[in-house]
Every structure is written in structure tokens, then in C-alpha cells.
């Protein structure tokens, strides 16, 4: 085994959550069978953790709107990612996530940012009433859109660890099999 790049892209919790629920439902990838206890365990535990976070209520359209609106605050990719994952509701949380927030954001901007978060990102504590809570996980389209979304964020901050669009929009199962002939020989 060889590691080509240990950090080729950052993923939002939403992207991981939708991949894992797809695996659990047998979309895109097959459900873990009885020989894949490890996969079944980690998928179950991770989904259990992510279910209690606001990423459960997110969807690609919402992330796109958020990314467009948040761009004026000049936050780094990591900061935006944490805002989406943590969904801060107080100024003290923003100060934790945003490095040197006192210098980079005025008090007003912090409250504007909080306002933006509460209007764009649904909160888990608002319960099931929030629109999009009953979103169906239609699998690939969502994940791909999620990726394009990630792309955009990356373009905004001259992407360190950039992901190539061709790779990402490629269907997960649609990989060229160069070796089909070898298998069938004889």
C-alpha cells in the first residue's frame, strides 16, 4: 500500500454523512456484508455521531447558498468548514473557530455572521420542523453536487490540496477497467 496524498481534500461532515447513509442503504456502494464487520461498525458509529450534529439537516443547495454568502467575510477554508460542521450560535464560538477574530472581524461582522449562520444553516435543536430534514438520500447526485460545492470553496481560497474536477464528477463506479481481458483469458 502506498499513500499518494494523505490530504487530497477536506470533507464537510455533510458529505461524509451522506456517503455513509448511502452505504447503509446500499446506494452507490453495496451494503456491508457479514464479512465486513469493520465497515459496518465504523459506519454505524460515525453515523450515530453525525446524526446528532446539524449536518444531518444540510443539503447541497443550502451549502452553496451559504458558501456564496459567507465569502465576503474572508474566512479560510478550514474556518468555513468548521462553521458548517459546528454551526456556532454564540460570538464566543466564532472567536474560537476564527483565528485572530478580533483583528479580522468587527463586532458587527461577528453578529452578521451569526445571523447568516442561523438563517442559512438549519439547527438540530429546531427539530424536525426545519425544511430539508426529510430529504431523501438520492445518492450520487447529491454527493456530486456536494463535491462541486467543495470545489467552489476551494477556488475561493487558492486551493491548497486542490481536487480535480474531472476526478470528482466521475461516477464512482464508472472506472475504466483496463484488465477485463486478462481476467477472461483462458
Amino acid at each position: 500500500m502506498e499513500v499518494i496524498s494523505e490530504n487530497s481534500a477536506l470533507l464537510t461532515n455533510y458529505e461524509v454523512f451522506s456517503l455513509l447513509t448511502d452505504i447503509q442503504n446500499g446506494h452507490g456502494q453495496r451494503k456491508p456484508n457479514k464479512h465486513q464487520q469493520n465497515l459496518a461498525t465504523i459506519v454505524y458509529e460515525t453515523v450515530k455521531y453525525l446524526e446528532n450534529t446539524s449536518c444531518k439537516l444540510q443539503n447541497p443547495e443550502l451549502l452553496k447558498v451559504f458558501a456564496e454568502k459567507v465569502s465576503r467575510f474572508n474566512l479560510t477554508k478550514a474556518e468555513k468548514l468548521q462553521i458548517l460542521n459546528q454551526r456556532p450560535t454564540t460570538a464566543v464560538e466564532i472567536q474560537l473557530i476564527v483565528e485572530e477574530s478580533e483583528e479580522r472581524l468587527t463586532e458587527e461582522e461577528i453578529y452578521e455572521l451569526l445571523e447568516l449562520i442561523s438563517s442559512c444553516v438549519p439547527s438540530i435543536s429546531d427539530g424536525e420542523k426545519v425544511e430539508g430534514a426529510s430529504e431523501d438520500h438520492e445518492g450520487k447526485e447529491e454527493i456530486q453536487e456536494g463535491n462541486e460545492e467543495e470545489e467552489e470553496e476551494e477556488q475561493m481560497d487558492e486551493g491548497e490540496g486542490e481536487v480535480h474536477e474531472e476526478l470528482i464528477t466521475e461516477d464512482r463506479n464508472d472506472v475504466q477497467v483496463g484488465a477485463e481481458d486478462n481476467d477472461d483469458d483462458d
Binding site: 500500500m1 502506498e2 499513500v3 499518494i4 496524498s5 494523505e6 490530504n7 487530497s8 481534500a9 477536506l10 470533507l11 461532515n13 458529505e15 461524509v16 456517503l19 455513509l20 452505504i23 456502494q29 453495496r30 456491508p32 456484508n33 464479512h35 465486513q36 469493520n38 465497515l39 461498525t41 465504523i42 459506519v43 458509529e45 460515525t46 450515530k48 455521531y49 450534529t53 478550514a78 468548521q82 460542521n85 459546528q86 454564540t90 464566543v92 464560538e93 472567536q95 474560537l96 473557530i97 483565528e99 481536487v163 476526478l167 466521475e170 464512482r172 463506479n173 472506472v175 475504466q176 477497467v177 483496463g178 484488465a179 477485463e180 486478462n182 481476467d183
Partner: protein, 205 residues
């Protein structure tokens, strides 16, 4: 919190898997090999994201299986330094507080990275933050087990747990007493000594 890691590996497909679609068989094998495992200097592997490229397969004499070089991307739990995460308190000791995230348990907050001033209640085996309301009144905020806690990642440690050769120096004792054997492969050191960090209930007003 999660990253995509690009890796390359040789996948051996045994003959009885030939009836399967090649990509399905490879995805199964990769998930079986990496899911819920820590890869040294990479992180905790969660699930396969996608296959990037399959190279030609080979058959070796004496083995009916095919061997394929596969480039793939895997979802890996690898929080970056200074990332803010939320977990649950697993247990406490004099050394500090152990935090779990459900799927990942090896998070440790050393005693000197707790909110200051913190004291250890040895009777209940829990830590408490002695919050000073004013000069005379102090309020003890306990860090109970299972309470949600927000922390900042300050360090990560990978331990190479690949088995080394048999120990030739000490053949007398059969019981493995070496503490190194029990060491978790990937540990995160965290801190809560900043405002906004610590138990969620402290800050929710």
C-alpha cells in the same frame, strides 16, 4: 474533521470472487482491508470514497487470483491541528480527561490543558473547574462522565503498531507485559483552556 486520502494498493481478487463485477469486488476488498483501521500517519479510515484508476491485472504462477493495482480515495478521520471538535467525556483520572467521539476513543486532555484553575475530586474521580464568580465566591463546575465537551486539537501522535520480530532478549516471561503493546495507534491530544471550550453546558447560558 474528515479528509480524503488518495492511496494506491495492490488488490488480490481470489478466483471465487470472479463471478462478481470487478469494481464491486475491489470496493469490497478495500473496505474490508481499511475500514475502522488506523493507517500510520494518515488517520482512522472510515469508508471508501471512490476508485480513481484501475491498472492492468496480473496472474502469478501458482496462484489463481488476479492482482490489480488500484488508485482510490478513502474517507479518513484526521482532524487538523487547532480544529474545534465536540465529544463526550469517557472517563477522568489524575492525569487528565479522556474523551470519546463514539467512533474514535483516543482523545486525551492533559490536566494542564484544562480550564484554569481545575481541581481533581479524587472521591468521585472527576475534574472540576473552580470558576471564580467574584472574589469570595467560587463555583465548582464539574466535568461529569458522558457530558458533551468541546475541545481544540493541539497534537496528534501516531504509534507504529506493526508487529516487530520475536523478542529474543527476554524469553523467560510468556505474558506480554510491555506497555507498548497496548498503545493506541493514533491519539489526539486536546485542550480546553480557552473561553468557549469545555462542557457545552458551561457556555449555553
Amino acid at each position: 474533521m474528515f479528509v480524503l486520502c488518495e492511496m494506491k494498493d495492490t488488490v488480490r481478487i481470489p478466483p471465487w470472487e470472479f463471478k462478481e463485477n470487478t469494481t464491486d469486488a475491489i470496493m469490497d476488498i478495500l473496505n474490508k482491508k481499511f475500514a475502522n483501521k488506523v493507517v500510520y500517519n494518515v488517520g482512522l479510515c472510515i469508508a471508501l470514497w471512490d476508485l480513481v484508476k484501475l491498472e492492468d491485472s496480473f496472474i502469478f504462477p501458482g496462484d489463481g487470483a488476479t492482482h490489480t493495482n488500484v488508485h482510490f480515495r478513502y474517507v479518513v478521520f484526521r482532524p487538523f491541528i487547532d480544529e474545534i471538535l465536540v465529544g463526550k467525556i469517557k472517563c477522568s483520572s489524575k492525569e487528565g480527561v479522556y474523551v470519546s467521539m463514539g467512533f474514535f476513543d483516543d482523545i486525551f486532555i492533559p490536566a494542564d490543558a484544562l480550564q484554569h484553575p481545575a481541581i481533581f475530586e479524587s472521591q468521585d474521580q472527576i475534574w472540576a473547574w473552580e470558576y471564580e464568580v467574584d472574589e469570595d465566591t467560587k463555583h465548582k463546575l464539574f466535568m461529569d462522565i458522558d457530558e458533551e465537551i468541546r475541545f481544540r486539537v493541539v497534537d496528534e501522535t501516531f504509534t507504529d503498531t506493526t508487529p516487530s520480530g520475536p523478542d529474543t532478549t527476554n524469553t523467560e516471561s510468556d505474558i506480554p507485559t510491555d506497555p507498548e503493546l497496548k498503545k493506541p495507534p493514533y491519539t489526539i491530544t486536546a485542550s480546553i483552556s480557552d473561553s468557549g471550550l469545555g462542557c457545552m453546558s458551561w457556555w449555553n447560558g
